[in-house]
Amino acid sequence: MSHDTQIKKEPSNLSSKQFRTDSPLIDQIPGRKRQILRESPESELKMEEFLLNVGPQHPSTHGVLRLVVALEGEVIKRCDPDLGYLHRTFEKISESRSYQQIVPFTDRMDYLGSMNANWGVAVAVEKLAKIEVPERAEYLRVIVSELNRIASHLMWMGAFGADIGAVTAFLYGFRERELILDMFEEICGSRLTYGYIRVGGVAEDITPKFDKLVREFLDILPAKLEDYHNLITGNPIFLERTRGVGAITLEEAISYGVTGPMLKACGMPWDLRKEEPYSVYPKFDFDIPVYYNGDCFDRFRVRMDEMVESAKIVIQALDGLPEGDYKVKKLARNIKPPVGDVYVRQEAPRGEYGVYMESDGSTKPNRVKYRTPSFSNLSILPLMTVGWKIADLVAILGSVDIVLGDVDR
């Protein structure tokens, strides 16, 4: 997986209305620039390429990712991610389990956004087997997945801060995330592997305590976000380490299949909740945050703003929660969907999460394929890091928000 510094820029065939084309050129952003290596015939210094192994047991790689970095001095010439250390054959396992049994395995893919991972599979099976889900279940799904998005972004904010050197943010992010985990524990009895969104609805109805916890949390969230902004966003050290760093253009992002906050940071308000509305999202009023520089700082800002938008959705869904069943009353123990296939895609905290499922009419799917956002987002890392210093590598990798369980599956 080696890449040249120059990649061919393909003209994008997206309509110009969808994104701003007059975005400021990356070189004009205040902040640091990529290092340019200059040849100097007078100097007698010999420079040799230096290969550095980062990971797989390195705390900054957010899991078990190995990066083979070719350095010239401190400047990165090449960066090749080496994946597969966390490969657990979830696609194959899914093909050998009954349709309901797939859900708990998806918890282990994107373990910071399990609710969304559950949801994609549940919807795929429901579409295959033509199961109608009660409206209350759809609302509950939206509530938990948006809460999960906030939890995921809080965790990311903390981890990113710690990567950059702001370790305090790490503790603050975890402190608030804990409140969301408490809510999930209340409704599904688990703190990380929820398995809450099931085929045909959700596992359990919410309780009054859950409602109270959510409202309390949403009350304090704005003040906490302000704290983070004061602590991190306004900090010149943080700005200097992220502004302009690892910037990519919109065309590059699109050609690599980058989605989610990374794409929004490049100036394109592409969000499947708006573009291809699913579930009950059209009923809610929310915005898609967009920034135009495509650098680490803008990715940070997108995620911080997304938390506010998610909070808006949660409160609207909670207020408008209809009465009724939370799951389909009579569901066969062994679902046998008719022959066919389906592709479901949803906006997970990290980007587009897709599930392709093919049924051969038996109780097990014939083929399951997961399109996970972390994997596609990571693919642009070699391009993003070239020309930056080794210290920036940590910032750039952190800003991608990879979950290795999601990359390797």
Partner: protein, 202 residues
């Protein structure tokens, strides 16, 4: 490879105060130091423990009925539902030997094993059971010396129930419609969690 020399431009602030980053550091300290006067959010574990909800998905148990017999009828619904394939059940007809104890049952398990290392704690076995015979507890601090020790047999799983029911005597109501009411009561406060005693123990 050719010789290369890098031109490095170090970004500089307007004056020396900016370059020392003293002001942002002080600003940050104001925010962090404020937290010194707030209530700590951490618990002194293991002396203090978090209150876990009654639907917490921890170690399994096999429940007993009023007469102290295991409720399980060896229908194998749970092992069929289990995505991790970690429940092993060998059923026996109730037969003559069991007539007195299990008069109204066709079958009961003579072997019921759960491999807690294979288990992914998804709770699907609990949902599948028609007799409420299998349930999950709030015990999560499982530790043992060998892999074999993690295979919980019937006696141990019943032992977990005995242990659990001491702390939560009205657990039986959990599935009887009063579940919701219980969830919001303060009844479920965990004081100490200990592992179930192993028969013949270590």
């Amino acid at each position: 490879m050719a010789v290369s020399v890098k031109n490095i431009t170090v970004p500089r602030g307007k004056n020396w105060v900016d370059n020392t980053y003293i002001i942002p550091v002080i600003k940050g300290l104001i925010i962090t130091l404020r937290h010194m006067f707030k209530k700590p959010i951490v618990l002194y574990y293991p002396e203090n423990k978090k209150v876990l909800p009654p639907n917490y998905r921890g170690l399994h148990m096999l429940t007993r009925d009023e007469q102290g017999r295991e409720k399980c009828v060896a229908c194998e619904m749970c092992s069929t539902a289990c995505p991790a394939d970690c429940i092993r059940i060998v059923a026996n007809d109730s037969g003559d030997v069991w007539k007195d104890n299990f008069e109204n049952r066709e079958k009961h398990p003579i072997v019921f094993e759960i491999d807690e290392l294979r288990c992914i704690f998804c709770g699907m076995c609990v949902e599948a059971c028609p007799e409420d015979a299998i349930d999950m507890t709030d015990m999560h601090n499982l530790a043992d010396y060998t892999r074999q020790d993690f295979i919980y047999d019937k006696e141990r799983l019943l032992g977990v129930y005995d242990e659990y029911i001491k702390r939560h005597p009205d657990h039986a109501k959990r599935r009887d419609g009063e579940f919701k009411a219980m969830k919001n009561s303060s009844y479920f406060s965990v004081v100490s969690v200990e592992n179930a005693k192993k028969p013949g123990g270590h």
